[in-house]
Symmetry: C3
Subunit: 333 residues, 3 copies
Amino acid sequence: MIKPLTIGEIVNSLGGQLVGDPHLVVSCVSSLRSATSGSISFFVDKRHIAALRATAASVIITSPEFSELTESVKIITENPYLYFVKVINLLNAAPNEAFQGISDKAHLGSGVEIGERVVIMPNAIICDNVFLGDDVVIGAGCYLGSGVSIGNFSKLYPNVTVYDDVRVGKNVIVHSGAVLGSDGFGFVNECGRWYKVPQIGGLVVGNDVEVGSNTTIDRGALDDTLIGDGVKIDNQVQVGHNCSIGDDTVIAGCVGIAGSVKIGKRCKIGGAAMITGHLDITDDVTISAGSLVAKTIKLSGRYTGVYPLSEHGEWLIGAVELRKMARTKGRVS
Amino acid sequence: MIKPLTIGEIVNSLGGQLVGDPHLVVSCVSSLRSATSGSISFFVDKRHIAALRATAASVIITSPEFSELTESVKIITENPYLYFVKVINLLNAAPNEAFQGISDKAHLGSGVEIGERVVIMPNAIICDNVFLGDDVVIGAGCYLGSGVSIGNFSKLYPNVTVYDDVRVGKNVIVHSGAVLGSDGFGFVNECGRWYKVPQIGGLVVGNDVEVGSNTTIDRGALDDTLIGDGVKIDNQVQVGHNCSIGDDTVIAGCVGIAGSVKIGKRCKIGGAAMITGHLDITDDVTISAGSLVAKTIKLSGRYTGVYPLSEHGEWLIGAVELRKMARTKGRVS
Amino acid sequence: MIKPLTIGEIVNSLGGQLVGDPHLVVSCVSSLRSATSGSISFFVDKRHIAALRATAASVIITSPEFSELTESVKIITENPYLYFVKVINLLNAAPNEAFQGISDKAHLGSGVEIGERVVIMPNAIICDNVFLGDDVVIGAGCYLGSGVSIGNFSKLYPNVTVYDDVRVGKNVIVHSGAVLGSDGFGFVNECGRWYKVPQIGGLVVGNDVEVGSNTTIDRGALDDTLIGDGVKIDNQVQVGHNCSIGDDTVIAGCVGIAGSVKIGKRCKIGGAAMITGHLDITDDVTISAGSLVAKTIKLSGRYTGVYPLSEHGEWLIGAVELRKMARTKGRVS
């Protein structure tokens, strides 16, 4: 799957300033540490200077700021990591799908519309009235409920479940085990027992979204749950019913978002952060990993709420003091 | 799937006091904000008064307390939200399953007992000696191990896995990706290596339970894990081996419950709360979202343990002070 | 599946000092509380003395320290719980798999190598060039991408997904819903939009590993993600790209580990702990449940960082004081 290129060809494609022989051929990308001859790597962080000095990489991508630090053949560019990523895509042709076309072991319901060059792997279940755009890939064992639509170039890895009527945009990636459009958690109490609130809203996922493995996104109760364009969601994230996530927001692993939360654009939600229900977070907010958000955030910025880690004995003393502080104050006030 | 009704028919069915023409027809439910003519909505919270004033809904369900706030056609009842939920069920006939009967692409082992009107979708695997009650629905790609039993009217969405001998009650809903009865996390150390403790207990799930997508509930080590009647569990929850969850307790998303925890009846466990092993929580306890419970709770009430969220710079100062407090005290004592 | 044994046979097999008639037959294992006649149980914790006095178990396994506490027939040994676990394995022959051999409803790609006595259940998808060692079991609905290898005696429960080229060692257990080798969460920002960093590293899982249900372990970005020998991972755990987990480390449920974290050997990571990216944890570290680890840990020991749980009103007072402390200090400095 590797297509070796000369660095002249790379610079012709991607730009940047080349220092060295344009006929030099590179055949793989690697980190500085694991590089071998013939590989291209990148340097963006002075802390890795020792690795830069020791590397066997044939070519280094770096920024003008650091270009003097190496005598190696190099490509100088403003955003070396992005450049490196583009080189990965140049060198590594997309792997062939394990399957081509529509498997005769897949189930296709009635009224299904299928675009050009679609791949449907064995044991996928495509229910009635599903729409699949061009170049869509549906992995083995996926389930697409009635009325689901999946936009062009989107790919569902194996064993993804999509409930009825969920709409997924173009160029979306959904990893294995994700569940899109399951019922929101809605119950009303009647004499001590919980009575299910039917979840008749939908789920709309925008374009260029990535959804991590085993992530769950619930459908709305009445109105729709909305995932904006360019949103990137890591593994094991839970998004509750009627949430709305703004464009280009990124959500790290293990985050939980309760129902009816509105998150703005370009936010960064750190791993295992938890956001309680019915609140708004404005644009450009960063939530630190592990923080609990229990109120609306109206000002952009970074927010944190985690107990600092200590050696256990020291933590114990601090916890006792904290509790004493609360009790003293409680008696006084 | 919508069956339009007159509001006279609705009140005949569900009770309540009608103010307006009983021949008025409603054909959908909606929130105040997204309502159009012909829809029925509800009002229970004074903070939504602006939405009430602006709504295009034809009928409002509300309580005696708020009935003066609108001149609209209305139904007055003590629990408007519950009433509204019942209207949803009246108007929205349960959707037809995507499949009917027993798919010839399902696998049925020997000694399987199947009740009346059961649906088994393609690629479901039903191992030997499974019992399925009347009106059970088994989604595509579900796996039911040997000896599993599923009570009447229960529904497993696609891609649920049920390990051997798990017993599920009546009228239970299990969402996609859930795993019932996998091995508990039990190991014993022998000279630095971990030796697996066989998990030979079972899992018994009561009646009227709902289990969210990608939730996992482990079987017991020796005795059974028990989920009481009417328990509602959201997505991505982990319930460890030998837990016992009391009737009508609700558990929000991303909660983790370690092994051998006993939770009482009618508890409410907030999202992402974590409960460590071998402790008891009495009846009618509420745990706030994100709290860690590390000791037994003997008194009903609400408990919280989360670091308050701050702007990051302020949090940093607080964290430093907290640590200083612990260190000072540590030196003194 | 039970094979009754005399306690003489048990002691011949496993050692220990027998006090009582070696011809006594036991036919099941149980906890002290649920024991009936004919069962063998164990006693290791003085807090369960009442259960010991009341038990109907025919035989008690206990330590020299506690051997005087019961007049029952007993086996005395240094590690009674480990001994008990071994008795479970003696008495309970491994259950027969629900299926034998290679199902004709499984998909086998080209170039697949299959060892002796392998079981592949219906609807499993084995892509091209997969290697399966001897005695491997692949559950129903599992997906193994191209180039995957699974070592001898390893077992994948139903509905596990393994991405291309993942290598799994010998004697590994993977529970249902787990996803091995999905893409790490890597994006680079270009003018406000996120550009996917191809994840071209791999995932290597050592020998004697257990992976819990719905756990996700990502492949590396450039280099491999590494799970050491003897590592035990509970349910719903997330391991990010390029992590390295040392031998014999145990990770409890709901833990999140961000990318490029290096965890040493014999660590114990408590439930729902969260470890942020790019840090090192040395050998023999214990992290308490619910703690956030945000910096490198160089010294072995136990570390904790959780807000102590209180009755909600008391928590509120403490939280207000904590915030006041931060604000006062913030103004002063």
